[in-house]
Structure formats: C-alpha cells, structure tokens
C-alpha cells in the first residue's frame, strides 16, 4: 500500500517535470521524482516488528540478524541522495545562467534551437 503511494509521488514528480513551463518548477519536479525513489528503496528492506540495524555491545548477533531491518537499501539511498544533490545543484546553476542570458524563466521563450 505504501509502495503505491511512492509510485503516486513519482508520477506527480514526472507530471510536474513534463508539463510545467517555469524552469525552476521543472527542477522541483525532478527533485520530487528522485525523492519518491529514495522513499521507495528503504521500504524494500522493511521487516515486521523490526529494529534499527545498529549494533552495540549489548546486542546478540543472532537475534540481531533475525529482527533487524535490511540495512543495504539504506546505504543505497544515502548514495542516491548525494547524487540527487549533485544534479539539483547543477540544474539550479544552469537556471541562474539561463535567466542571465534569456531574461526569463519561461521555457516557451527559450526556443533558439529548433529544427
């Protein structure tokens, strides 16, 4: 059920990235899409009544393995968040330069390349 909600969020982000005319809104749409996938990934490691996958001196290894949630998707998501940060920073930098050159944030006005 929660997975379907993540997919709905992904579709909202995709709609925003494809139909909006303001360049900044397109970047926000891309961000929403990436966050939807970042939300979906740790949910894959969920285990009913699971505990956080952090050990300290008191935990028993075997019991830990039986009840902890899967930590691998959490590591994947950390990497994915960093990648999303890089793309967003680049996109915003390009948007700033686009405003400087074209004087507008509207993509329907940036039609110099066509054909």
């Amino acid at each position: 059920m929660v997975y379907a909600l993540c997919f709905v969020l992904f579709m909202i982000g995709l709609y925003c990235a494809l139909t909006k005319k303001n360049v900044i809104k397109i970047v926000i749409g891309l961000g929403i899409m990436e966050y939807a996938v970042n939300l979906f990934l740790p949910l894959l490691g969920y285990r009913k009544n699971g505990t956080a996958p952090i050990m300290d001196r008191a935990t028993d290894p075997l019991e830990f393995l039986a009840t902890a949630v899967d930590p691998l998707p959490q590591a994947l998501v950390l990497t994915s968040i960093v990648i999303g940060l890089g793309v967003t920073a680049m996109a915003i930098a390009i948007c700033i330069r686009l405003y400087e050159k074209y004087g507008t944030y509207d993509i329907t006005e940036m039609r110099r390349l066509r054909g």
């Binding site: 300290d56 960093v82 920073a89 700033i96 405003y99 400087e100």
Partner: protein
C-alpha cells in the same frame, strides 16, 4: 551580499562553533553510529553557510577563502583514492581494509574498523568544501529591482 540583523549575527557567531563540532562528531563516529562522512560534511558546510547568510559573503570568504576550499575539496578526494590504492599494496586488492589488518582495534572502539574513519573524514572534507563553494558561487549573481520596476541580474561587483 549584505547580511542580517544584530540578533541573527550574535546568535550565529555563538552557534557556529557548536554546529562545526557536531559535524565533526558525526563524521568521526561514523563507523559506530548513523551518519558518516556525507552527513558530517553537510553539517560542517551548514555552519559556514550560516556565517555567509548572517554576515555577508566577504567575511565568510575571509574565514575560508575559495582557493583553500577548492584545495580541500581535491585533497579530500585524493586522500580517499590514495588510501584505496594503498589497499593494493598492503592488502593485495583495491579498497582492501589494510589498516584493519595491521592495527585492529577492539569492537565498538573509536579507533577500530580500519580505513573506514579515514574514508569518512575524506568524504567530509570533500562534501563540506563542495557545498560551501557551490553556495558562495551561486550567490554571485542576484536580481535587483531597477528604478522603473523591471528586474535585472547583476554580478557582485556592480552595485545597484
């Protein structure tokens, strides 16, 4: 870039040290508690960005010049790569945890798990420097309102 009011400036001056220390804590105990290099780097960058927002860009750049930040950036990445390459020399394979094999610490101690704290510190340097540079560079251009109400984008050297 002008900066903010007296209240914000005073609090920022007091709080930035704690933020910086917190970032260092999260980085150094990255192999024991959640966090690690990236989260610590972001928090350290946040302390510098706080100074930039509160005092203006010139004072922040006096504390950490752009050249030094770019150098820290590349040095962090090179430390990461060099430690990984030493894994070939000492451990026989790329990225091998050679520090763990030579100086094994006890479990759950601060100085344990080999090369992972070194990787955390390298990533913290890189991410912190990168985020700070990105923020400062993006604030070079800003939109000013001219006399007739239209907008214009100026670089930092010209005033309105």
């Amino acid at each position: 870039m002008k900066g903010m009011t007296v209240i914000v400036r005073t609090i920022a001056r007091w709080v930035k040290v704690f933020i910086f220390l917190y970032g260092c804590l999260i980085t150094i105990t990255g192999h024991l508690t959640p966090g690690g290099g990236f989260a610590g780097g972001v928090i350290i960058a946040a302390s510098f960005i706080l100074i930039t927002l509160a005092y203006g860009k010139e004072l922040a750049l006096r504390q950490l010049p752009l050249r030094a930040a770019a150098g820290l950036d590349s040095v962090g990445a090179l430390i990461f790569l060099v430690v990984a390459l030493f894994g070939i020399g000492f451990g026989g394979i790329f990225f091998a945890n050679w520090i763990q094999r030579r100086f094994p610490g006890g479990s759950f101690h601060l100085l344990s798990s080999g090369a992972i704290p070194v990787y955390n510190i390298a990533i913290c340097l890189k991410v912190g420097a990168s985020l700070f540079i990105t923020f400062v560079i993006m604030s070079v251009l800003r939109i000013v309102v001219q006399k007739d109400g239209s907008f214009r984008m100026v670089q930092d050297e010209e005033e309105e």
